[in-house]
Amino acid sequence: MKETGSEMKKERRYETREDVSAAKRYIRREISWSTVRKPLSLLLALFVWHLLTTYQVPLFTQVPKPIEVMKDAINFVPTTTYWTHVLYSNQRVLAGFFIALIIGVPLGLMMGYKKLFNEWTFPIFEILRPIPPIAWLPLSVIMFPTPEMSVIYLIFIGAFFPIVMNTVLGVLSIEENYRRSALSLGASPRDIFRHIILPASTPSIFTGMLIGAGMTWDMVVAAEMVAGGYGLGYMTWDAYVVINYPRIIFGMISIGLCGFILSSVVRFIGNKIMPWRRLF
Protein backbone atom coordinates (compact mmCIF):
# COMPACT_ATOMS: atom_id res chain seq x y z
CA MET A 1 0.00 0.00 0.00
CA LYS A 2 2.73 2.34 0.98
CA GLU A 3 4.28 2.48 -2.51
CA THR A 4 1.11 3.67 -4.16
CA GLY A 5 0.87 6.62 -1.86
CA SER A 6 4.41 7.74 -2.50
CA GLU A 7 4.10 6.98 -6.22
CA MET A 8 1.26 9.43 -6.46
CA LYS A 9 3.16 12.04 -4.51
CA LYS A 10 6.15 11.58 -6.81
CA GLU A 11 4.14 12.46 -9.89
CA ARG A 12 4.05 16.02 -8.71
CA ARG A 13 7.81 16.21 -8.40
CA TYR A 14 10.49 16.77 -10.96
CA GLU A 15 13.02 14.08 -11.73
CA THR A 16 16.37 15.67 -11.06
CA ARG A 17 17.73 18.56 -9.05
CA GLU A 18 18.55 20.45 -12.28
CA ASP A 19 14.93 20.24 -13.41
CA VAL A 20 13.78 21.52 -10.07
CA SER A 21 16.08 24.50 -10.03
CA ALA A 22 15.23 25.34 -13.65
CA ALA A 23 11.54 25.28 -12.83
CA LYS A 24 12.10 27.41 -9.76
CA ARG A 25 14.09 29.94 -11.77
CA TYR A 26 11.33 30.11 -14.34
CA ILE A 27 8.66 30.61 -11.70
CA ARG A 28 10.71 33.26 -9.94
CA ARG A 29 11.22 35.14 -13.21
CA GLU A 30 7.49 34.97 -13.93
CA ILE A 31 6.60 36.27 -10.50
CA SER A 32 9.06 39.14 -10.64
CA TRP A 33 7.69 40.24 -14.03
CA SER A 34 4.09 40.09 -12.94
CA THR A 35 4.87 42.23 -9.91
CA VAL A 36 6.42 44.80 -12.24
CA ARG A 37 3.55 44.76 -14.74
CA LYS A 38 0.87 45.77 -12.27
CA PRO A 39 2.41 49.10 -11.14
CA LEU A 40 3.46 49.73 -14.74
CA SER A 41 -0.17 49.56 -15.85
CA LEU A 42 -1.01 52.36 -13.41
CA LEU A 43 1.86 54.48 -14.71
CA LEU A 44 0.64 53.87 -18.24
CA ALA A 45 -2.83 55.14 -17.34
CA LEU A 46 -1.31 58.26 -15.78
CA PHE A 47 0.72 58.84 -18.93
CA VAL A 48 -2.32 58.53 -21.22
CA TRP A 49 -4.22 60.96 -18.98
CA HIS A 50 -1.26 63.34 -19.21
CA LEU A 51 -1.22 63.15 -23.01
CA LEU A 52 -4.99 63.61 -23.32
CA THR A 53 -4.98 66.75 -21.19
CA THR A 54 -1.71 68.26 -22.43
CA TYR A 55 -2.71 68.04 -26.08
CA GLN A 56 -6.25 69.31 -25.37
CA VAL A 57 -8.00 66.35 -26.96
CA PRO A 58 -11.74 67.11 -27.30
CA LEU A 59 -13.70 66.41 -24.11
CA PHE A 60 -10.49 66.69 -22.12
CA THR A 61 -10.01 70.45 -22.47
CA GLN A 62 -11.43 71.17 -19.01
CA VAL A 63 -9.93 68.10 -17.33
CA PRO A 64 -7.04 68.99 -15.00
CA LYS A 65 -3.60 67.54 -15.71
CA PRO A 66 -2.20 64.79 -13.47
CA ILE A 67 0.45 67.15 -12.20
CA GLU A 68 -2.17 69.70 -11.10
CA VAL A 69 -4.08 67.01 -9.24
CA MET A 70 -0.88 65.86 -7.62
CA LYS A 71 -0.03 69.40 -6.48
CA ASP A 72 -3.49 69.81 -4.99
CA ALA A 73 -3.17 66.45 -3.25
CA ILE A 74 0.20 67.37 -1.76
CA ASN A 75 -1.29 70.54 -0.30
CA PHE A 76 -4.54 68.96 0.83
CA VAL A 77 -3.53 65.58 2.25
CA PRO A 78 -1.69 66.94 5.33
CA THR A 79 -4.75 68.98 6.41
CA THR A 80 -7.21 67.71 9.02
CA THR A 81 -10.08 68.76 6.72
CA TYR A 82 -9.17 66.04 4.22
CA TRP A 83 -8.89 63.35 6.85
CA THR A 84 -12.18 64.42 8.38
CA HIS A 85 -13.81 63.88 4.98
CA VAL A 86 -12.16 60.45 4.72
CA LEU A 87 -13.15 59.53 8.25
CA TYR A 88 -16.80 60.57 7.84
CA SER A 89 -17.31 58.62 4.64
CA ASN A 90 -15.60 55.52 5.97
CA GLN A 91 -17.55 55.60 9.20
CA ARG A 92 -20.82 55.81 7.33
CA VAL A 93 -19.83 53.06 4.91
CA LEU A 94 -18.75 50.72 7.69
CA ALA A 95 -21.87 51.43 9.74
CA GLY A 96 -24.23 50.78 6.81
CA PHE A 97 -22.26 47.76 5.66
CA PHE A 98 -22.19 46.11 9.09
CA ILE A 99 -25.88 46.66 9.68
CA ALA A 100 -26.57 45.12 6.26
CA LEU A 101 -24.34 42.20 7.17
CA ILE A 102 -25.81 41.60 10.60
CA ILE A 103 -29.39 41.67 9.32
CA GLY A 104 -28.79 40.33 5.81
CA VAL A 105 -26.82 37.15 6.44
CA PRO A 106 -29.13 35.57 9.07
CA LEU A 107 -32.15 36.62 7.02
CA GLY A 108 -30.69 35.12 3.86
CA LEU A 109 -29.80 31.89 5.68
CA MET A 110 -33.33 31.61 7.04
CA MET A 111 -34.86 32.32 3.65
CA GLY A 112 -32.74 29.63 2.06
CA TYR A 113 -33.12 27.08 4.83
CA LYS A 114 -36.76 27.39 5.88
CA LYS A 115 -39.24 26.89 3.10
CA LEU A 116 -42.14 28.46 4.97
CA PHE A 117 -40.12 31.56 5.86
CA ASN A 118 -38.99 31.79 2.25
CA GLU A 119 -42.56 31.70 0.95
CA TRP A 120 -43.54 34.52 3.30
CA THR A 121 -40.59 36.78 2.56
CA PHE A 122 -39.13 36.10 -0.87
CA PRO A 123 -41.90 37.77 -2.95
CA ILE A 124 -41.40 40.99 -0.97
CA PHE A 125 -37.74 40.88 -1.85
CA GLU A 126 -38.46 40.24 -5.48
CA ILE A 127 -40.44 43.48 -5.62
CA LEU A 128 -38.06 45.61 -3.57
CA ARG A 129 -34.83 44.34 -5.07
CA PRO A 130 -35.16 45.86 -8.57
CA ILE A 131 -35.64 49.34 -7.07
CA PRO A 132 -32.32 51.15 -7.60
CA PRO A 133 -31.02 51.96 -4.10
CA ILE A 134 -30.69 55.61 -5.06
CA ALA A 135 -34.47 55.76 -5.56
CA TRP A 136 -34.77 55.34 -1.80
CA LEU A 137 -33.10 58.71 -1.27
CA PRO A 138 -36.16 61.00 -1.01
CA LEU A 139 -37.99 58.53 1.21
CA SER A 140 -35.00 58.10 3.50
CA VAL A 141 -34.70 61.87 3.93
CA ILE A 142 -38.36 61.99 5.00
CA MET A 143 -38.13 58.91 7.21
CA PHE A 144 -35.11 59.69 9.36
CA PRO A 145 -34.74 62.52 11.82
CA THR A 146 -31.09 63.32 11.01
CA PRO A 147 -29.28 63.46 7.64
CA GLU A 148 -26.59 61.20 9.10
CA MET A 149 -29.14 58.46 9.69
CA SER A 150 -30.61 58.73 6.21
CA VAL A 151 -27.14 58.46 4.68
CA ILE A 152 -26.40 55.31 6.67
CA TYR A 153 -29.81 53.94 5.76
CA LEU A 154 -29.10 54.41 2.06
CA ILE A 155 -25.76 52.65 2.37
CA PHE A 156 -27.51 49.85 4.23
CA ILE A 157 -30.05 49.48 1.43
CA GLY A 158 -27.29 49.35 -1.18
CA ALA A 159 -25.41 46.53 0.55
CA PHE A 160 -28.43 44.70 1.99
CA PHE A 161 -30.01 43.26 -1.16
CA PRO A 162 -26.88 41.76 -2.73
CA ILE A 163 -25.94 40.21 0.62
CA VAL A 164 -29.39 38.69 1.22
CA MET A 165 -29.82 37.47 -2.36
CA ASN A 166 -26.43 35.82 -2.58
CA THR A 167 -26.87 34.19 0.81
CA VAL A 168 -30.24 32.75 -0.22
CA LEU A 169 -28.87 31.44 -3.51
CA GLY A 170 -25.86 30.05 -1.69
CA VAL A 171 -28.06 28.01 0.64
CA LEU A 172 -30.41 26.88 -2.13
CA SER A 173 -27.58 25.65 -4.33
CA ILE A 174 -26.04 23.38 -1.70
CA GLU A 175 -25.82 19.85 -3.03
CA GLU A 176 -28.41 17.54 -1.53
CA ASN A 177 -25.74 14.86 -1.17
CA TYR A 178 -23.85 16.90 1.43
CA ARG A 179 -26.93 16.90 3.61
CA ARG A 180 -27.64 13.23 3.03
CA SER A 181 -24.06 12.34 3.70
CA ALA A 182 -24.04 14.28 6.95
CA LEU A 183 -27.29 12.63 8.04
CA SER A 184 -25.81 9.22 7.30
CA LEU A 185 -22.78 10.14 9.35
CA GLY A 186 -25.03 10.81 12.32
CA ALA A 187 -25.43 14.59 12.21
CA SER A 188 -28.47 16.17 13.87
CA PRO A 189 -30.46 18.97 12.18
CA ARG A 190 -28.56 21.50 14.25
CA ASP A 191 -25.25 19.95 13.16
CA ILE A 192 -26.44 20.12 9.56
CA PHE A 193 -26.97 23.85 9.88
CA ARG A 194 -23.65 24.49 11.54
CA HIS A 195 -21.45 22.03 9.68
CA ILE A 196 -23.07 21.93 6.24
CA ILE A 197 -25.35 24.88 5.50
CA LEU A 198 -23.08 27.51 7.02
CA PRO A 199 -19.73 26.48 5.49
CA ALA A 200 -21.28 25.52 2.15
CA SER A 201 -22.91 28.92 1.74
CA THR A 202 -19.92 30.95 2.93
CA PRO A 203 -18.51 31.47 -0.59
CA SER A 204 -21.83 32.94 -1.75
CA ILE A 205 -22.07 35.11 1.34
CA PHE A 206 -18.67 36.55 0.52
CA THR A 207 -19.65 37.14 -3.09
CA GLY A 208 -22.64 39.07 -1.76
CA MET A 209 -20.40 40.98 0.62
CA LEU A 210 -18.06 41.97 -2.22
CA ILE A 211 -20.92 43.22 -4.39
CA GLY A 212 -22.44 44.92 -1.33
CA ALA A 213 -19.13 46.58 -0.45
CA GLY A 214 -19.01 48.04 -3.95
CA MET A 215 -22.55 49.36 -3.55
CA THR A 216 -21.76 51.06 -0.26
CA TRP A 217 -19.39 53.50 -1.96
CA ASP A 218 -21.90 54.18 -4.72
CA MET A 219 -24.42 55.09 -2.08
CA VAL A 220 -22.25 57.13 0.26
CA VAL A 221 -21.10 59.41 -2.54
CA ALA A 222 -24.61 59.99 -3.86
CA ALA A 223 -26.01 60.55 -0.39
CA GLU A 224 -23.26 62.97 0.67
CA MET A 225 -23.71 65.06 -2.43
CA VAL A 226 -27.27 65.63 -1.26
CA ALA A 227 -26.77 65.71 2.51
CA GLY A 228 -23.71 67.96 2.58
CA GLY A 229 -21.46 68.62 5.58
CA TYR A 230 -18.52 66.26 5.46
CA GLY A 231 -17.42 63.25 3.47
CA LEU A 232 -15.58 62.45 0.27
CA GLY A 233 -18.77 62.67 -1.81
CA TYR A 234 -19.51 66.11 -0.42
CA MET A 235 -15.86 67.13 -0.90
CA THR A 236 -15.99 66.17 -4.58
CA TRP A 237 -19.27 67.96 -5.20
CA ASP A 238 -18.10 71.03 -3.27
CA ALA A 239 -14.94 71.17 -5.41
CA TYR A 240 -17.17 71.42 -8.46
CA VAL A 241 -19.27 74.17 -6.86
CA VAL A 242 -16.22 76.28 -5.93
CA ILE A 243 -14.58 75.55 -9.31
CA ASN A 244 -11.57 73.67 -7.90
CA TYR A 245 -11.24 71.15 -10.73
CA PRO A 246 -8.12 69.28 -9.58
CA ARG A 247 -9.91 68.65 -6.27
CA ILE A 248 -12.74 66.89 -8.14
CA ILE A 249 -10.30 64.37 -9.55
CA PHE A 250 -8.52 64.01 -6.24
CA GLY A 251 -11.85 63.35 -4.52
CA MET A 252 -12.66 60.69 -7.09
CA ILE A 253 -9.30 59.01 -6.65
CA SER A 254 -9.74 59.07 -2.86
CA ILE A 255 -13.13 57.39 -3.19
CA GLY A 256 -11.64 54.78 -5.53
CA LEU A 257 -8.85 54.01 -3.10
CA CYS A 258 -11.20 53.70 -0.13
CA GLY A 259 -13.49 51.36 -2.09
CA PHE A 260 -10.50 49.30 -3.15
CA ILE A 261 -9.31 49.00 0.45
CA LEU A 262 -12.74 47.85 1.64
CA SER A 263 -13.03 45.15 -1.05
CA SER A 264 -9.47 44.02 -0.35
CA VAL A 265 -10.26 43.63 3.33
CA VAL A 266 -13.39 41.58 2.51
CA ARG A 267 -11.34 39.39 0.13
CA PHE A 268 -8.58 38.99 2.66
CA ILE A 269 -11.00 37.85 5.36
CA GLY A 270 -12.74 35.55 2.87
CA ASN A 271 -9.48 33.84 1.96
CA LYS A 272 -8.55 33.54 5.61
CA ILE A 273 -11.73 31.79 6.65
CA MET A 274 -12.04 29.69 3.46
CA PRO A 275 -8.58 28.21 2.98
CA TRP A 276 -10.23 25.46 0.94
CA ARG A 277 -11.34 27.87 -1.70
CA ARG A 278 -9.20 30.61 -3.16
CA LEU A 279 -11.49 32.16 -5.67
CA PHE A 280 -10.62 35.79 -5.52
Partner: protein
Protein backbone atom coordinates in the same frame (compact mmCIF):
# COMPACT_ATOMS: atom_id res chain seq x y z
CA UNK B 1 -8.18 -11.67 6.65
CA UNK B 2 -10.54 -10.53 9.34
CA UNK B 3 -13.68 -12.26 10.50
CA UNK B 4 -16.70 -11.54 8.38
CA UNK B 5 -19.06 -9.14 10.05
CA UNK B 6 -22.01 -10.73 11.83
CA UNK B 7 -24.03 -7.61 11.20
CA UNK B 8 -25.63 -5.97 8.23
CA UNK B 9 -27.99 -8.79 7.33
CA UNK B 10 -30.43 -7.20 4.90
CA UNK B 11 -33.72 -8.81 4.00
CA UNK B 12 -35.98 -7.12 1.45
CA UNK B 13 -39.50 -8.50 1.22
CA UNK B 14 -41.72 -7.73 -1.75
CA UNK B 15 -40.41 -4.19 -2.08
CA UNK B 16 -42.21 -1.99 -4.57
CA UNK B 17 -41.47 1.64 -5.33
CA UNK B 18 -43.58 3.96 -7.40
CA UNK B 19 -42.41 7.50 -7.95
CA UNK B 20 -45.00 10.11 -8.61
CA UNK B 21 -43.12 13.31 -9.21
CA UNK B 22 -45.30 15.05 -11.81
CA UNK B 23 -48.49 13.04 -11.64
CA UNK B 24 -46.92 10.44 -13.91
CA UNK B 25 -46.40 7.18 -12.10
CA UNK B 26 -42.97 5.73 -12.56
CA UNK B 27 -42.84 2.15 -11.48
CA UNK B 28 -39.21 1.91 -10.41
CA UNK B 29 -39.03 -1.30 -8.38
CA UNK B 30 -41.53 -4.11 -8.53
CA UNK B 31 -42.08 -6.79 -5.89
CA UNK B 32 -38.39 -7.24 -5.29
CA UNK B 33 -37.21 -9.68 -2.63
CA UNK B 34 -33.66 -10.57 -1.76
CA UNK B 35 -31.28 -11.17 1.06
CA UNK B 36 -27.77 -9.89 1.68
CA UNK B 37 -25.91 -12.17 4.10
CA UNK B 38 -23.89 -10.58 6.86
CA UNK B 39 -20.34 -9.87 5.73
CA UNK B 40 -21.20 -10.48 2.09
CA UNK B 41 -19.87 -8.32 -0.72
CA UNK B 42 -22.90 -7.95 -2.93
CA UNK B 43 -22.76 -6.25 -6.33
CA UNK B 44 -25.96 -5.20 -8.05
CA UNK B 45 -25.93 -4.82 -11.81
CA UNK B 46 -28.67 -4.02 -14.29
CA UNK B 47 -29.59 -1.66 -17.12
CA UNK B 48 -29.76 2.09 -16.55
CA UNK B 49 -32.87 3.22 -14.76
CA UNK B 50 -33.73 -0.23 -13.45
CA UNK B 51 -34.11 0.96 -9.88
CA UNK B 52 -30.72 -0.01 -8.46
CA UNK B 53 -30.11 3.38 -6.94
CA UNK B 54 -33.71 3.54 -5.75
CA UNK B 55 -33.22 0.22 -3.98
CA UNK B 56 -30.08 1.53 -2.32
CA UNK B 57 -31.74 4.79 -1.30
CA UNK B 58 -34.59 2.86 0.31
CA UNK B 59 -32.16 0.75 2.32
CA UNK B 60 -30.23 3.90 3.26
CA UNK B 61 -33.41 5.63 4.43
CA UNK B 62 -33.31 8.47 1.89
CA UNK B 63 -36.36 7.27 0.00
CA UNK B 64 -39.71 5.86 1.10
CA UNK B 65 -40.95 2.38 0.23
CA UNK B 66 -44.32 2.23 -1.54
CA UNK B 67 -45.00 -1.36 -0.57
CA UNK B 68 -43.12 -4.12 1.20
CA UNK B 69 -40.57 -4.15 3.98
CA UNK B 70 -36.84 -4.02 4.47
CA UNK B 71 -35.19 -5.49 7.56
CA UNK B 72 -31.67 -5.17 8.85
CA UNK B 73 -30.52 -7.72 11.41
CA UNK B 74 -34.15 -8.60 12.03
CA UNK B 75 -35.17 -5.01 12.68
CA UNK B 76 -37.60 -3.23 10.39
CA UNK B 77 -35.81 -0.30 8.75
CA UNK B 78 -38.18 0.61 5.93
CA UNK B 79 -41.85 0.15 5.16
CA UNK B 80 -44.63 2.25 3.76
CA UNK B 81 -45.59 3.51 7.22
CA UNK B 82 -42.13 4.02 8.66
CA UNK B 83 -40.59 7.47 8.85
CA UNK B 84 -37.40 7.94 6.85
CA UNK B 85 -34.41 7.23 9.03
CA UNK B 86 -30.93 7.51 7.58
CA UNK B 87 -28.23 6.76 10.07
CA UNK B 88 -24.62 5.82 10.66
CA UNK B 89 -25.41 2.10 10.73
CA UNK B 90 -25.96 2.25 6.94
CA UNK B 91 -23.30 4.37 5.27
CA UNK B 92 -23.65 5.56 1.71
CA UNK B 93 -20.95 6.56 -0.76
CA UNK B 94 -22.48 8.49 -3.64
CA UNK B 95 -21.88 8.35 -7.37
CA UNK B 96 -20.29 11.74 -7.64
CA UNK B 97 -18.98 11.89 -4.12
CA UNK B 98 -20.03 14.07 -1.23
CA UNK B 99 -16.84 14.91 0.59
CA UNK B 100 -17.16 18.26 2.30
CA UNK B 101 -14.84 20.58 0.37
CA UNK B 102 -14.45 22.87 3.39
CA UNK B 103 -12.86 20.13 5.48
CA UNK B 104 -9.46 18.57 5.01
CA UNK B 105 -9.16 14.84 4.33
CA UNK B 106 -8.70 13.96 7.97
CA UNK B 107 -11.43 16.36 9.10
CA UNK B 108 -13.80 14.71 6.63
CA UNK B 109 -12.87 11.27 7.87
CA UNK B 110 -13.35 12.28 11.50
CA UNK B 111 -16.71 13.99 10.88
CA UNK B 112 -18.87 10.95 11.64
CA UNK B 113 -17.37 9.95 14.99
CA UNK B 114 -17.42 13.60 16.07
CA UNK B 115 -21.08 14.03 15.22
CA UNK B 116 -21.96 10.84 17.06
CA UNK B 117 -19.64 11.46 19.96
CA UNK B 118 -18.72 7.78 19.94
CA UNK B 119 -15.12 8.40 20.90
CA UNK B 120 -13.91 9.84 24.15
CA UNK B 121 -11.06 11.91 22.78
CA UNK B 122 -9.95 13.38 19.53
CA UNK B 123 -6.58 11.65 19.57
CA UNK B 124 -8.24 8.27 19.47
CA UNK B 125 -10.40 9.23 16.48
CA UNK B 126 -7.41 10.55 14.60
CA UNK B 127 -5.37 7.43 15.25
CA UNK B 128 -8.09 5.24 13.83
CA UNK B 129 -8.52 7.59 10.88
CA UNK B 130 -4.79 7.50 10.14
CA UNK B 131 -4.75 3.72 10.27
CA UNK B 132 -7.54 3.43 7.70
CA UNK B 133 -6.04 6.18 5.54
CA UNK B 134 -2.78 4.23 5.53
CA UNK B 135 -4.54 1.12 4.24
CA UNK B 136 -6.13 3.26 1.53
CA UNK B 137 -2.70 4.70 0.61
CA UNK B 138 -3.65 8.21 1.64
CA UNK B 139 -1.60 8.91 4.74
CA UNK B 140 0.38 11.67 3.04
CA UNK B 141 -2.73 13.60 2.07
CA UNK B 142 -4.51 13.90 5.38
CA UNK B 143 -4.14 17.67 5.54
CA UNK B 144 -5.09 18.34 1.92
CA UNK B 145 -8.49 19.66 0.92
CA UNK B 146 -10.64 17.36 -1.27
CA UNK B 147 -10.32 19.73 -4.24
CA UNK B 148 -6.57 19.32 -4.31
CA UNK B 149 -6.48 15.52 -4.53
CA UNK B 150 -7.46 13.35 -7.50
CA UNK B 151 -10.97 11.95 -7.87
CA UNK B 152 -9.68 8.42 -7.30
CA UNK B 153 -8.26 9.52 -3.98
CA UNK B 154 -11.45 11.39 -3.12
CA UNK B 155 -13.47 8.21 -3.52
CA UNK B 156 -11.09 6.33 -1.26
CA UNK B 157 -11.34 9.06 1.37
CA UNK B 158 -15.08 8.75 1.17
CA UNK B 159 -15.01 5.00 1.73
CA UNK B 160 -12.69 5.50 4.70
CA UNK B 161 -15.04 8.18 6.04
CA UNK B 162 -17.94 5.75 5.73
CA UNK B 163 -16.02 3.02 7.55
CA UNK B 164 -15.08 5.32 10.42
CA UNK B 165 -18.53 5.27 11.98
CA UNK B 166 -18.55 1.48 12.23
CA UNK B 167 -21.51 0.92 9.92
CA UNK B 168 -23.25 -2.43 9.73
CA UNK B 169 -23.45 -2.15 5.97
CA UNK B 170 -21.67 -0.04 3.39
CA UNK B 171 -23.86 1.14 0.51
CA UNK B 172 -21.79 2.09 -2.52
CA UNK B 173 -23.70 3.71 -5.37
CA UNK B 174 -21.49 3.41 -8.46
CA UNK B 175 -18.70 5.09 -6.56
CA UNK B 176 -16.07 4.57 -9.27
CA UNK B 177 -18.22 5.46 -12.23
CA UNK B 178 -16.35 8.62 -13.12
CA UNK B 179 -12.91 7.05 -12.82
CA UNK B 180 -10.68 5.84 -15.64
CA UNK B 181 -9.70 2.18 -15.95
CA UNK B 182 -6.21 2.66 -14.52
CA UNK B 183 -7.40 4.48 -11.44
CA UNK B 184 -10.15 1.91 -11.01
CA UNK B 185 -7.71 -0.97 -10.85
CA UNK B 186 -5.77 0.77 -8.07
CA UNK B 187 -8.88 1.73 -6.16
CA UNK B 188 -10.31 -1.81 -6.45
CA UNK B 189 -7.24 -3.13 -4.70
CA UNK B 190 -7.70 -0.62 -1.89
CA UNK B 191 -11.38 -1.43 -1.56
CA UNK B 192 -10.75 -5.17 -1.42
CA UNK B 193 -8.07 -4.62 1.15
CA UNK B 194 -10.42 -2.53 3.28
CA UNK B 195 -13.09 -5.21 2.88
CA UNK B 196 -10.71 -7.97 3.86
CA UNK B 197 -9.59 -5.89 6.83
CA UNK B 198 -13.03 -4.96 8.16
CA UNK B 199 -15.26 -7.76 6.87
CA UNK B 200 -18.16 -5.33 6.50
CA UNK B 201 -21.30 -6.15 4.58
CA UNK B 202 -21.20 -4.23 1.31
CA UNK B 203 -23.82 -3.43 -1.29
CA UNK B 204 -22.14 -2.20 -4.44
CA UNK B 205 -24.04 -0.83 -7.41
CA UNK B 206 -22.27 -0.79 -10.75
CA UNK B 207 -22.61 -0.94 -14.52
CA UNK B 208 -19.21 -2.49 -14.89
CA UNK B 209 -19.65 -6.26 -15.03
CA UNK B 210 -15.95 -7.00 -14.69
CA UNK B 211 -15.82 -4.82 -11.60
CA UNK B 212 -18.79 -6.72 -10.18
CA UNK B 213 -17.22 -10.15 -10.69
CA UNK B 214 -13.80 -9.03 -9.49
CA UNK B 215 -15.02 -7.46 -6.27
CA UNK B 216 -18.15 -9.28 -5.18
CA UNK B 217 -19.01 -12.62 -3.62
CA UNK B 218 -22.58 -12.40 -4.87
CA UNK B 219 -23.83 -10.60 -7.97
CA UNK B 220 -27.49 -9.63 -8.28
CA UNK B 221 -28.80 -9.01 -11.77
CA UNK B 222 -31.81 -6.72 -11.93
CA UNK B 223 -34.42 -6.76 -14.67
CA UNK B 224 -35.23 -3.66 -16.63
CA UNK B 225 -37.72 -1.21 -15.12
CA UNK B 226 -39.77 -1.95 -13.07
CA UNK B 227 -36.74 -3.56 -11.52
CA UNK B 228 -36.78 -6.81 -9.66
CA UNK B 229 -34.24 -9.51 -8.96
CA UNK B 230 -33.64 -11.61 -12.07
CA UNK B 231 -30.67 -13.73 -11.19
CA UNK B 232 -28.20 -14.29 -8.40
CA UNK B 233 -24.71 -15.47 -9.20
CA UNK B 234 -22.31 -16.66 -6.48
CA UNK B 235 -18.75 -15.72 -7.33
CA UNK B 236 -16.65 -18.49 -5.89
CA UNK B 237 -13.19 -17.01 -6.28
CA UNK B 238 -11.07 -17.19 -3.11
CA UNK B 239 -9.91 -14.04 -1.30
CA UNK B 240 -7.66 -12.12 -1.09
CA UNK B 241 -8.12 -11.64 -4.82
CA UNK B 242 -5.36 -10.52 -7.04
CA UNK B 243 -5.66 -8.72 -10.36
CA UNK B 244 -4.40 -11.94 -12.06
CA UNK B 245 -7.74 -13.67 -11.50
CA UNK B 246 -9.43 -11.62 -14.20
CA UNK B 247 -7.79 -13.74 -16.89
CA UNK B 248 -8.61 -17.06 -15.20
CA UNK B 249 -11.05 -19.49 -16.81
CA UNK B 250 -13.33 -19.31 -13.81
CA UNK B 251 -13.55 -15.52 -13.99
CA UNK B 252 -14.31 -15.57 -17.70
CA UNK B 253 -17.01 -18.17 -17.10
CA UNK B 254 -18.72 -15.91 -14.59
CA UNK B 255 -18.38 -12.99 -16.99
CA UNK B 256 -20.08 -14.98 -19.74
CA UNK B 257 -22.93 -15.95 -17.45
CA UNK B 258 -23.37 -12.36 -16.34
CA UNK B 259 -23.19 -10.88 -19.81
CA UNK B 260 -25.91 -13.28 -20.99
CA UNK B 261 -28.18 -12.30 -18.12
CA UNK B 262 -27.63 -8.58 -18.42
CA UNK B 263 -27.65 -8.34 -22.17
CA UNK B 264 -31.27 -9.42 -22.63
CA UNK B 265 -32.40 -6.90 -20.04
CA UNK B 266 -30.29 -4.16 -21.57
CA UNK B 267 -31.85 -4.80 -24.98
CA UNK B 268 -35.32 -4.65 -23.46
CA UNK B 269 -34.49 -1.41 -21.66
CA UNK B 270 -33.02 0.05 -24.82
CA UNK B 271 -36.00 -0.88 -26.97
CA UNK B 272 -38.41 0.54 -24.45
CA UNK B 273 -36.32 3.71 -24.31
CA UNK B 274 -36.58 3.95 -28.09
CA UNK B 275 -40.34 3.51 -27.93
CA UNK B 276 -40.68 6.17 -25.28
CA UNK B 277 -38.62 8.58 -27.31
CA UNK B 278 -40.66 7.86 -30.45
CA UNK B 279 -43.89 8.60 -28.68
Amino acid sequence: MAEKSKQGHIVAKNVTKIYDPYGVNIHAVDDCSFEIKPGDFMAMVGPSGCGKTTMLNMIAGFDTVTEGEIFMDGELIASAEKKLMPGPDRMVVFQLGALFPWRTVIENVCFGPKMQGTYSDEKEIKEKARELLRVAGLEEFENDYPMSISSGMQRRVEIVRALMTGPKILLLDEPFRALDAMTKSVIHRHLLELYDLTGKTIMFITHDLREAVFLASTVFVMTTRPGTLKKMIKIDIPRPRNIDVITSQKFLGYMQELIDAVHKEAVKAFERGERELAR
